[in-house]
Point group: C2
Chain length 253, copies 2
DNA sequence: GCTTTTCTGTGTGTTGTCGTACAGAAAAGA
DNA sequence: TCTTTTCTGTACGACAACACACAGAAAAGC
């Protein structure tokens, strides 16, 4: 949360053509996102679309009993507010800042106007939605089949991929709310990771010491999501609408 | 799987205007979907988009060790193959027929051509994607927090909503593969539901005897998904593209 | 400096689900 | 009819995660 970020730090904004940028960028508003800020509350109207630059935001479901779980993570590879494109006005879930930083935001009217031109922004949004669905899908699988330790690894990796440094600032209590498990469960898993020399963890400061080992300890879920996200990024600069013969080369799959 | 179904039994096909129907319907092909048929295999190319009429298809993730879990259920309210709209060519997951019946299908080229007109089909697909995301999202929550019994209730309800009768044909072994749990776990949960007089279950034939009680025993997840799906259906006949001022009335939320 | 709060680690017992094994009953096939 | 297969129910031990309680250490506030 130091130097003022550029819009291009967000991959989706960067992928837009100069023409579209010239229409949208004048309306961009830079907003700081402090830790634990809430961009959208579940079932409340959404007034802006957010494009994170160096912040990370989680999509959380809040249960009837008040407990919450993060189902997805959004950083500079994505945007918040796809529900607006889908024709909804209110949020499916709470959007909670899990790593402080900045985001650019646009009023929903501007975004919808551009979207309704059915050009690049539509294509971009569809591509990103695909990646997001993959992530949510894989979270469901992970919640079903994998241990807290594996899920912690997956989640650390997803977060690290969206940061430019190798440390995270968040307490075990906070992580437990993200994963939807007990704080003690996170303590156990984190201790084991420390014992293995994969991370260091002291009062809310996590440093990743051995990333390859972290990936090895994670479940297959991380790899699946990463591959799909990378595919999105590789595809972006081409700025094409879908045609039947523009199959993605196998090498990218 | 008795009388030949009409395309209009699928809510999405029915919601299209006569003009769009006249372009697409000549290419519709009616296909029988027997139990356990696989429409798409994970990571394999998708050649058609399927619109179920009286069948139910599950989106399943197949893990590296071969185990599978159903993350989502699609019936006559939806379609299979949204990945094609999103710009992908290969399936995210396996699509497995969990209740035999029919579906109409269209070659992907036809659907893409119509989609690229950026008219009704685009709107429909976006709306449906919203409902699908909600369902996947809620599955993730449910896998995290709820018991096998609750999940069985949710899943029975989602299936019943997509059928015109109150019975299901499937063994406990099959259900366990759907939920991603042990067969014995399903036995236990099903016995309890029988003891409570909610269902009867004999060698693969489940009858729902007391639906209100079934809903009461289910977790909140079913209600959330149902509400979003109903919202989709209510909205469909209006056939509008999104505009900023067409907010959904609060009464529908 | 002292107090208060926050954060992390530990212990004990419980519960839900798993893995495995097996048995009885119904259905299907010979 | 007899055999084989399928489907369902039961039992036992193992384990992961849970709920709850509490203690020590670091940080923050006064």
């Amino acid at each position: 949360m130091s130097a003022k970020p550029e819009p291009q730090q967000n991959h989706l904004l960067a992928a837009l053509s100069p023409e579209v940028q010239s229409r949208l960028f004048p309306y961009l508003e830079l907003v700081p996102l402090p830790l634990r800020a809430v961009l959208y509350e579940s079932r409340r109207p959404m007034r802006h679309v957010y494009f994170p630059t160096d912040s990370i935001v989680s999509l959380q479901y809040v249960m009837e009993n008040g407990a919450s779980t993060a189902i997805s993570v959004v950083g500079n590879e994505g945007l918040l507010g796809i529900t607006l494109f889908m024709g909804g006005e209110s949020a499916l879930s709470r959007s909670l800042v899990q790593s402080a930083g900045y985001a650019y935001r646009l009023p929903r009217q501007r975004v919808k106007e551009e979207f309704n031109r059915h050009g690049e922004l539509l294509m971009l949004m569809l591509r990103y939605t695909q990646a997001l669905i993959t992530q949510i899908f894989q979270t469901a699988v992970c919640n079903r089949h994998h241990s807290i330790e594996q899920q912690l690894c997956r989640w650390l990796l997803l977060s690290m991929d969206r940061l430019s440094h190798n440390h995270l600032t968040m307490t075990q209590e906070f992580i437990s709310n993200m994963l939807g498990v007990r704080r003690e469960g996170v303590t156990q898993a984190a201790l084991e990771l420390q014992r293995l020399g994969v991370i260091s963890y002291a009062r809310g400061l996590i440093k990743v010491l051995d990333r390859p080992k972290l990936e090895a300890l994670s479940c297959e879920c991380y790899g699946v999501v990463k591959k799909e996200t990378d595919l999105l990024l590789h595809y972006l600069p081409q700025r094409q609408l879908i045609k039947d013969n523009d199959a993605i080369p196998m090498a990218m799959l």
